[in-house]
């Protein structure tokens, strides 16, 4: 297990390195001089020269990359240029990171709470009314864009029902956990719905798959109680492909949170990257994108490792 973990960690390193190289190069595929582009109308030659030196843009490309990477590894993500002039990007992200993490976690919890039971029931009652209804809702769930769903939720809860927690905006933890969670609820629903729909569909088809396996027939023939078969044999086997989907779709949750933060005016990391794009603040864009990619790779690693707990047949470090 530990050998496998180390192996996976080592394998993730080249991916991260090349991804970081790509992210760093983004600035340089931009047409024109990045500094002039970033400064917009403030074309002060002295400032340009100072920034150029501060960012090391006069050095050869590979030296620039290595310097940047070295700083990043020490937690120095550079300085913001236009979003908040001179502020440390790491600091800006640190202020906002908890908002995005809370949103993504809350969405994940809501999605799992809806998707797993619905998927199980839908499969057990295949082609009955409850199955049809949940499948139609799932289809609507994957089709409705999270920003439209978010706006609809604000319209109904915030405008028509006049609920203060339904109007968007962020309440920090310091002003009460209850109010914080209440304001996070609609954003989490908006973001989690499509995710729930994807997981539910996978859960259903994985259940149906598992139900048609020989071991289920054998268990039935042995006279094991149907409830026990569902719990011990079917659901457990069905969870393996579902965990894969949960992991593979985590990117949706990370990308979607950028949109959801905009809809509900949440001061998260996604909101920061959008400001960065609008104001062409390259250090901010690079840092946020890098963090999202790192988080995604780590989550995928964790998901891979959970297979071992779900399915003892998968032996790490052995055949794989």
């Amino acid at each position: 297990m530990i050998v496998y973990l180390l192996k996976r960690l080592i394998l993730a390193i080249p991916t991260l390195l090349i991804a970081s190289f790509l992210i760093f190069s983004l600035v340089h595929i931009a047409p024109g001089d990045p500094i002039r582009v970033m400064l917009g109308q403030y074309q002060d030659p002295e400032l340009i020269a100072r920034l150029r030196e501060a960012m090391g843009l006069d050095l050869p490309f590979h030296v620039q990359y290595l310097r940047w990477l070295g700083k990043v590894l020490q937690g120095d993500l550079g300085l913001s240029i236009t979003v908040k002039r001179g502020a440390s990007v790491a600091g800006l992200i640190a202020q906002r990171f908890s908002v995005t993490v809370e949103l993504a976690t809350f969405s994940l919890i809501i999605a799992l709470l809806i998707a797993i039971p619905t998927g199980v029931i839908s499969a057990l009652r295949q082609n009955r009314l409850s199955d049809h209804i949940s499948r139609i809702i799932a289809l609507a769930g994957v089709s409705i864009p999270n920003f439209f769903l978010g706006i609809l939720l604000i319209l109904f809860v915030g405008v028509y029902l006049r609920q203060p927690w339904g109007a968007g905006g962020y309440v920090p933890f310091s002003r009460g956990l209850g109010r914080n969670l209440a304001h996070m609820f609609l954003p989490a629903v908006a973001l989690g719905t499509a995710y729930a729909a994807i997981i539910m569909r996978m859960m259903r088809s994985a259940m149906l798959d598992a139900m048609s396996q020989d071991f289920v027939r054998t268990a039935r023939a042995m006279g094991i109680a149907p409830g026990d078969i569902v719990r011990r044999d079917i659901v457990k086997n069905a969870l393996i492909p579902v965990v894969t989907v949960i992991g593979n779709s985590i990117g949706y949750l990370l990308g979607g949170s950028i949109v959801t933060e905009t809809v509900f005016r949440l001061p998260g990391v996604g909101n920061l990257v959008i400001m960065g794009v609008f104001r062409r603040d390259f250090p901010v864009i690079q840092a946020v994108v890098l963090i999202i990619v790192v988080v995604r790779i780590i989550i995928n690693l964790v998901v891979d490792l959970t297979y071992g707990f779900l399915d003892p047949r998968i032996r790490y470090g052995g055949e794989r």
Binding site: I18, S212, G276
Partner: protein
Amino acid sequence: MAWEIQSGEYELGAHRTLLQEFWRNFRRNKLSLIGGFIVLFYAFLAIFAPLLAPYDPIEQYDAPRGMRNPMPPLSRDVDGRLFLLGTDKFGRDILSRAIYGTRTLLQVAVGSISIAMLLGVTMGAIAGYRAGTWVDELLMRAVDIMLSFPSLVLAIALVGAFGIGKIQIGPFTLSNIVKIMLVIAITYSPRFARVMRAVVLQEMGKDYVAAAKISGASSARILLAEIFPNTIPPIIVQASLMMATTVLTTSSLSFLGLGLQPPRPSLGLMLNEARDYLFWGAWWYVMVPGGLITLAILGFNLLGDGLRDALDPRQARRRG
């Protein structure tokens, strides 16, 4: 899209029975037929937009005395013009903007999927044909790295690099709409590359390829004339499934303000503007563009699922 495959393959003649079987399978699934009709409806809207739109989508009309823009459905302006679906904040006709917005959305989606397909299919074909060599290794590594970015995040990062609006690369000016198509095409080409590589690998093992090799056909000939025709169905299925995702990504970018720019009518941008009028209760401002985006995604999802199931009926039965 189903019709395209049909006419294309009828010319080949030999596959007729296979196609008839495909059509039978496709028709049997009512949901995929509904998806097909929805897609046809959108194609109709997009093609005949100038004939269908009652007004110029960027013309601003004045509200009559005692009323303010945005005006609700069935309102009239000072000169008595009727606005079936109301007006937006500048007094522009929402129906006309929605029709033209749909047209732009489909233009971008079809354009970017076509470019993504071209890029991805080329990459995947070369990797598959040269499987196991350093070329394959290099291409697939690149694909892996690109897929480690959540797609919306990659698209946002690329917009961040290129800048918002039209861009200047040396002597060439790239219009904003073409730039967005390129951004989305780059984001989604790796998925086509994966599918294409897998299909080419599978076909390479078949007798007809061996026969072509023995008879001395060149690599290019084997790839283009022998293998390529057999890769069309899975690539088309992938394309129609990807259409739903592309519509979502395009409208998300526009919603964030990073995609299509005003005054060009865009459904995503309309939703963004409508947010400021939610507390006026301007539901029509939200429902029209949001509903159109959702229905488009639903249609492409249904059609894509139907095509996939019709081409692979054994899998479909399991999916239920």
